[in-house]
């Protein structure tokens, strides 16, 4: 390696190293001390031990909340993705008057803090008599995730795809064939991506779930309750579980979008 290339690598490392340390430090500490043997997750590290994971699995608050989070996450993400895909289809493939305005309305919740959306739903639901419940939380999560899912799927309905569909038609494909052999395969990564993105955001979401749930809290709300007892390795274990699920969903999301990106470059 030449001196110039070496210097180049050293500079890259000097820039990336400290920033990556900053980004990874808290997560590394969280995961490491979930395997801590002692009862306070502070250095020096003792262990490793799976005691706190066992304790966590025995804690009904956590297992119940995990189910609640999973159900709300799966159902609200499925609904958000479905609504978003239909809307993307309608606005991208048909000439709808006032399209810009309708897009603006769909993207609008992105510009409003979760807290304000939660307060709004709290006020509106109590005014019309909808009880605090997991259903209320799910409705809120669809509101939060609809613009994100719409953005992901809408981005895929580009002119390039319309040209490919037209090309298939010109080559004699029937409409169902165009739909099944061209449209769906091209859209699948975007739909999967929208679903996974919604899933992680719902799974991680706190303030709307906190404001709109009563006796059936989601996992972030329960973890929030656990924080009152201060630093505790069981909280580390629960946090690591939450992180792991999000990261897996996040990586699959990235890969889905990534594959799409690579195909675009090749195509």
């Amino acid at each position: 390696m030449s001196a110039a290339a070496l210097r180049q690598h050293a500079t890259t490392g000097l820039i990336l190293g400290p920033l990556l340390l900053f980004v990874y430090l808290p997560v590394a500490v969280l995961v490491l001390f979930s395997f801590h043997e002692g009862s306070v997750p502070v250095p020096p590290f003792e262990g490793p031990s799976l005691e706190w994971y066992r304790e966590m699995l025995d804690d009904e608050r956590i297992t119940d909340a995990t189910w609640n989070s999973a159900i709300v996450g799966l159902l609200s993400s499925a609904l958000a993705t479905l609504l978003a895909t239909l809307a993307a289809w309608g606005l991208a493939r048909h000439r709808v008057p006032g399209r810009r305005l309708l897009e603006g309305l769909l993207f609008m919740p992105l510009a409003v803090s979760y807290l304000v959306i939660g307060v709004g739903l709290l006020v509106a639901f109590s005014a019309v008599g909808i009880e605090k419940s997991l259903v209320a939380v799910g409705i809120g999560h669809v509101v939060l995730n609809l613009p994100l899912a719409f953005a992901v799927v809408y981005g895929q309905f580009d002119p390039e795809q319309a040209r490919l569909e037209q090309a298939a038609r010109d080559l004699g494909a029937s409409e169902p064939q165009v739909f099944l052999r061209v449209t769906v395969p091209l859209l699948r990564p975007a739909i999967l991506g929208a679903f996974l993105l919604s899933l992680t955001f719902s799974w991680d979401e706190f303030v709307v779930a906190f404001l709109l749930s009563a006796f059936d809290p989601t996992l972030p709300v329960v973890i929030w309750g656990m924080l009152r007892t201060g630093l505790n390795p069981q909280t580390n274990a629960a946090g690591t579980l939450v992180f792991l699920v999000s990261v897996v969903a996040g990586i699959v999301f990235e890969l889905a979008v990534w594959r799409r990106g690579r195909r675009e470059r090749l195509g």
Partner: protein
């Protein structure tokens, strides 16, 4: 123009109308959902902010009492000031840290590996914000990793006050926002044609000029998008200041939840939410203006 042309014209406009109706029908569920569960509740906040609570009663005669109370009471004004200060500090720091990270990935890493590096750089982005704040507490607490390490090394005798203050809140926010801004800034940087820089260099521009006259203006949309999302998230987040900030000072979201949980004063919470939305709107207009100003 013959009759056939007119007929063809009206047939075309009829099919166009059918097409528009089809498109609207497909978009309708999402639009209705957004109207019912986002636009209406937002309107409800605006209406409720004009009500007021007297004892346990909800007085529904509209008035500006809550807004007057906001201006009169120092604790409310201070909450807004704290929130604005923290949000601006976080946004500036996040952009300043994210830019070199995004720039290094976009220019110093081979193109086919960039995606992987970007994924690695923002992996902790996928942590729940409750968990992320708790994780920072593990690092910054008096007996936490940083203080523990420094004390073991004998560099300090007493733990440093790293947690339960504004610095800790800002650290937690910056951590998340750096990853967010890295994504948006990278997206702008990677689209810049490297030939532009080479052409400028050929025409005699030095590296600093290439950076300020080409890279920075073309990265501006990514910077603005990242900054705006950072502002929306930071000014509205309750968890990070509540976990990391201690009770030394309150930010707006903490004051809003105090109204809801402790005082059951929904109208005041609604008025404070309106003020929060106003702040975000101002930030949006300022950033939009900055962008169009740059383009000219």
């Amino acid at each position: 123009m013959g009759v056939t042309a007119v007929m063809a014209g009206s047939a075309e406009s009829a099919s166009r109308g059918r097409d528009a109706r089809k498109g609207l029908a497909l978009a309708a569920p999402a639009l209705l959902w957004t109207l019912a569960f986002f636009a209406l509740p937002s309107g409800a906040i605006a209406v409720w902010s004009l009500f007021r609570r007297e004892g346990a009663e909800l007085v529904t005669t509209p008035g500006l009492d809550n807004y007057r109370r906001f201006l009169d009471q120092e604790s409310f004004r201070l909450g807004l000031l704290n929130s604005v200060e923290v949000t601006l500090t976080v946004t500036v720091l996040a952009v300043l840290l994210a830019f070199p990270l995004a720039h290094a990935i976009a220019t110093r890493i081979r193109p086919e590996r960039q995606r992987l590096w970007l994924m690695a750089a923002v992996l902790p982005f996928w942590t729940s914000y409750v968990v992320r704040s708790y994780a920072w507490l593990l690092v910054l607490a008096p007996e936490g990793v940083v203080n523990g390490t420094l004390m073991t090394l004998g560099l300090i005798e007493e733990p440093l006050a790293l947690s339960f203050n504004r610095g800790a809140t800002i650290t937690g926010f910056v951590h998340f926002s750096v990853m967010l801004c890295t994504l948006t800034i990278y997206a702008s940087l990677v689209r810049i044609d490297p030939k532009l820089g080479l052409a400028a260099a050929d025409l005699g521009a030095n590296r600093w000029q290439v950076f300020t006259r080409i890279t920075l203006p073309l990265a501006a949309p990514g910077i603005a998008a990242g900054a705006f999302l950072t502002i929306v998230i930071t000014i509205g987040d309750y968890i990070t200041p509540q976990i990391l900030g201690g009770n030394t000072e309150l930010l707006m979201p903490q004051i809003i939840l105090l109204q809801i949980n402790r005082r059951a004063d929904i109208p005041m919470a609604a008025a404070l939410s309106m003020i929060l939305m106003l702040m975000v709107t101002i930030a949006y207009l300022a950033l939009a203006r900055w962008l169009t100003g740059r383009r000219r």
